[in-house]
């Protein structure tokens, strides 16, 4: 097991290297300079000063080598937009917030999604199934841009139960976690239902039942455990997506997360931030998949011996 983990971690290095090269080439092939405000294109000489300041006047290969050299020393470079902050600062300040938000949203998604999926499967084609799947479809269909303001209006302004926005207390985390997690809950519910339906028609379930086990025990101990494997599989990418794809939710609730840096850095051509966040996303994706694989081994004994 340890060997497997180590091997997977080592494999991360060439992956990140290739991603860095592709990202570097792509972002430099897009027209536009990091040094233009939306409403004030800069005079050429001033742009030249700024480009010289950040070594952007050097040939591309040299820039790439300079960048990678710094990355190997753990320095992800300055942010052109923020000047006094480095990409290291940005990730250090904002990743923990996005990580918390992502975990809470995923937790909400699992707590809501799995029971709905299980109940829908067990009561297939009854009103409970239809209701569950209706909630699931609604969850996927309502965008955060709509759900967020709706929650603010209802829970914060009308009922005065929660604060409108910002981050720091558990009260402030409720609405963002729901907004971000509802779509995930829907995906998890549908997958759990489909997977459960497949499992409960298999022979070993019939065997378990014929042994005279209680239905509850059959479902939870035998069926659900196997049905959760496909759900686990998507949790890795789902979590990576939650951590990095939270821009809209962070914007609506004024949360100082990392989400917007993934998007804004591209529009602003803030090269070091684009590189840093892209590499970070890749690392998070690979690592969360690794965690999922480890979890497989816990849930399914057969996988412990494989490899």
């Amino acid at each position: 097991m340890t060997v497997t983990i180590l091997r997977r971690l080592l494999a991360l290095i060439p992956v990140l290297f290739v991603i860095s090269l592709v990202t570097f080439l792509l972002m430099h092939s897009v027209p536009g300079s990091p040094f233009s405000a939306e409403d004030k294109p800069l005079p050429p000489q001033i742009k030249a000063n700024l480009e010289a300041y950040y070594h952007l006047d050097e040939p591309l290969p040299q820039q790439y080598l300079r960048y990678m050299g710094n990355v190997l020393r753990g320095d992800l470079g300055p942010s052109y937009l923020q000047r006094s902050r480095s990409v290291n600062d940005i990730i250090r300040d904002h990743l923990p917030v996005s990580f918390q938000l992502g975990l809470l949203a995923l937790g909400f998604g699992l707590l809501l999604g799995i029971p709905i999926g299980v109940i829908s499967a067990m009561r297939q084609n009854t009103w409970m199934d239809y209701l569950g799947m209706f909630v699931a479809i609604a969850g996927v269909s309502v965008p955060a841009m709509t759900l967020g303001p709706l929650l603010i209006w209802g829970l914060a302004l009308q009922l005065e139960l929660l604060p409108v926005a910002r981050w720091g207390t558990w009260q402030q985390a409720v609405m963002p976690a729901i907004t971000l997690g509802l779509g995930e809950a829907a995906i998890i519910a549908r997958l759990t239902r489909a997977s459960m339906l497949q499992v409960i028609h298999q022979d070993y379930i019939r065997t378990a039942r014929s042994k005279g086990l209680a239905e509850r025990k059959v479902m939870v101990k035998h069926a659900l455990r196997n049905a959760l494997i496909p759900v686990l599989t998507i949790l890795g990418p789902l979590f990576a997506g939650l951590v990095t794809g939270s821009m809209v939710v962070e914007q609506i609730f004024a949360i100082p997360g990392l989400g917007r840096f993934f998007v804004d850095s591209v529009g602003a051509r803030d090269y070091p931030v684009i590189m840093g966040t892209t590499l970070l996303f890749a690392a998070i994706l690979v690592l969360s998949n690794l965690v999922v694989d480890i979890t497989y081994a816990i849930i399914d004994p057969r996988m412990r011996t494989a490899e």
Binding site: V30, P31, G32, S33, P34, S36, A37, E38, D39, K40, P41, L42, P43, P44, Q45, I46, N49, L50, A52, Y53, Y54, P78, L81, Q82, R83, S84, R85, D89, I90, D93, H94, P96, V97, Q100, P149, I152, W153, A156, L157, P163, V164, A165, R166, W167, G168, T169, W170, A173, Q251, I252, F253, A254, P256, G257, R260, D264, V266, G267, A268, R269
Partner: protein, 518 residues
């Protein structure tokens, strides 16, 4: 754990209940606090002091860091007397040299200050900034003694004094030398303005606290300013309604609700601002390389329709570019510019060889992606299709690189905005529309360029007004290179306990506001 830390920080911001505290939203993070490294934003404007300020109520330049000044007969040498009895937050006295250092740092190409071209009018600044002169002493800003600063210009410039309200704030050079780019971090930062920056959590909040060394500290009433970064305008409004903010801008989508609400309408203010909303035609490609087509499209724009039915915030339809309140503004009533006249628009289009829009190339109308721009663009698209038979494709573009791509000629017509940095037409004309700006896709006209250059150095104000009127005629009518749409409005809500300035200022001046009844 991070959770807990954040909770403690938030609690800290709310402490000290006895002090007059203002809670104010910022629509973006105060990225760059160094006033010599960027255009001016809310935070540096409250930490550092420019030589002069601009009084929007009296519409005149007023003392700030300089208590008085004189101008030489030929209009090229300005001599400022710096305020007395004034210290930096580390106890160092504020001197004329601190101001000289500001201009040196702005001009220094190593700083990479994006707005450095705004001081090119100062002797030697352009040569230094463009690397032709390495000696910073060549810049015509000199401290004659601790309280006397002399600025020498390359020629007379009657707009120069008012432009100093937003550039050239004194800086603590010793702190910059010690900490480099990190000198504006709390703990490192040294200020001389009404407030000091005591806490800064990027993308979240910062805290300003009254600075007692400021020369006019006695008249500063608000002790603590909590600045919250809230990018979503509707969220800021919800926070205001919740009581977490003391004043807020009302987004267009909530205007009707606010005006109809008995409580909110009493806290509502609507007034002018100094921002122009406009389009630019790309003269590099069809169909807008033809002036007749540009004029036709301009005549088919129903500005009143946009202001009355879409933005609805009290904006003023604009036929010229310079906003009201600035020297060189030409009111609509003067008749310069192209008004809404669909009949005339169709005639012009026929004259250009496209009767009924036949044979007209597809037009791409680009805008920086946001809801307001999108709704206006859709209306303009309909107007041009309805009146001219033109095919208009809309293109929403994300990000700051937009203006540069557009200026290179990526779209047929594109949306821009301009907020005045100082109340003089020279600001918008010279920085946006002349050939010197170096935007290939913007129309070029030698007479216009010459007028803007001449008006910048002309000292006779009446003559300047005439020159700007002529320049506007060329820009928005004869060449029709720019298509002004409206001058923006301010739509503000203020809690009854806050007394704030509502006249259009370039930046919020917290030191002039007060909290009562607490």
């Amino acid at each position: 754990m991070g959770f807990l830390a954040a909770a403690v920080l938030t609690a800290g911001a709310w402490s000290a209940a006895q002090e007059a505290t203002l809670n104010y939203p910022l629509s973006q993070d105060p990225y760059i606090i160094d006033p010599t490294a960027n255009w001016l934003y809310e935070v540096p404007a409250n930490l550092f002091v420019p030589l002069v300020s601009y009084d929007f109520v009296e519409e005149q330049v007023a003392p700030a860091g300089a208590e008085s000044w004189t101008v030489s007969e030929d209009g090229t040498v300005y001599t400022f007397t710096i305020q007395d009895d004034w210290t930096w937050s580390d106890g160092t006295p504020v001197t004329a040299q601190d101001y000289a250092n500001s201009f040196r740092r702005i001009a220094d190409p190593a700083t990479g200050a994006p707005m450095s071209y705004r001081i090119y009018v100062i002797e030697g600044a352009q040569a230094v900034n463009q690397g032709e002169e390495a000696d910073l002493d060549a810049i015509g800003v000199r401290a004659l003694d601790d309280r006397t600063l002399e600025i020498t210009l390359v020629g007379p410039a009657s707009w120069f004094l008012s432009s100093l309200a937003s550039i050239g704030h004194a800086i603590p050079q010793w702190t910059i030398d010690e900490h480099g780019d990190a000198w504006t971090q709390p703990g490192n930062i040294v200020v001389n303005g009404p407030y000091n920056l005591v806490e800064l959590y990027p993308e979240d909040m910062s805290v300003l606290r009254k600075h007692d060394g400021y020369f006019d500290a006695d008249s500063v009433e608000i002790d603590v300013v909590n600045l919250y970064v809230v990018r979503e305008a509707s969220t800021a409004l919800a926070m205001y309604e919740e009581g977490a903010l003391d004043t807020v801008n009302v987004p267009a989508t909530d205007l009707e609700r606010v005006r109809a609400d008995p409580d909110l309408s009493a806290q509502y203010y609507n007034g002018g601002s100094n921002i122009l909303y406009y389009y630019i035609f790309n003269v590099l490609s069809e169909p807008f390389d033809d002036v007749l087509v540009r004029q036709a499209f301009a005549a088919a724009l129903d500005r009143a329709g946009i202001v009355d039915n879409i933005t609805k915030g009290g904006e003023i339809p604009a036929r010229t570019v310079t906003p009201p309140g600035s020297v060189g503004h030409v009111p609509n009533e003067v008749g310069i510019g192209i008004g809404y006249d669909p009949e005339r628009a169709r005639e012009l289009l026929t004259e250009a060889g496209y009767p009924g829009g036949e044979g007209l190339a597809t037009v791409t109308l680009a805008f920086n992606a946001n809801e307001n721009n999108s709704r206006i663009a859709q209306a303009v698209q309909q107007m041009w299709q309805r009146e001219l038979g033109a095919t208009v494709e809309l293109q929403a573009v994300e990000g700051a690189a937009y203006s540069e791509i557009a200026a290179q000629g990526a779209f047929s017509v594109w949306r821009m905005g301009w907020g005045m940095d100082y109340p003089d037409a020279n600001n918008i004309h010279s920085e946006m529309f002349t050939s010197d700006v170096g935007s290939p896709a913007i129309v070029k006209n030698d007479e216009y360029d010459q007028l803007i250059r001449d008006a910048a150095t002309e000292t006779d104000q009446a003559l300047r007004e005439e020159m700007y009127a002529r320049a506007e005629t060329i820009l928005v009518q004869e060449e029709a290179g720019a298509l002004p749409v409206y001058w923006s409005a301010q739509n503000i809500l203020t809690k009854p306990h806050l007394d704030r300035i509502l006249a259009p200022t370039y930046q919020p001046e917290f030191w002039k506001w007060s909290i009562n009844g607490d």
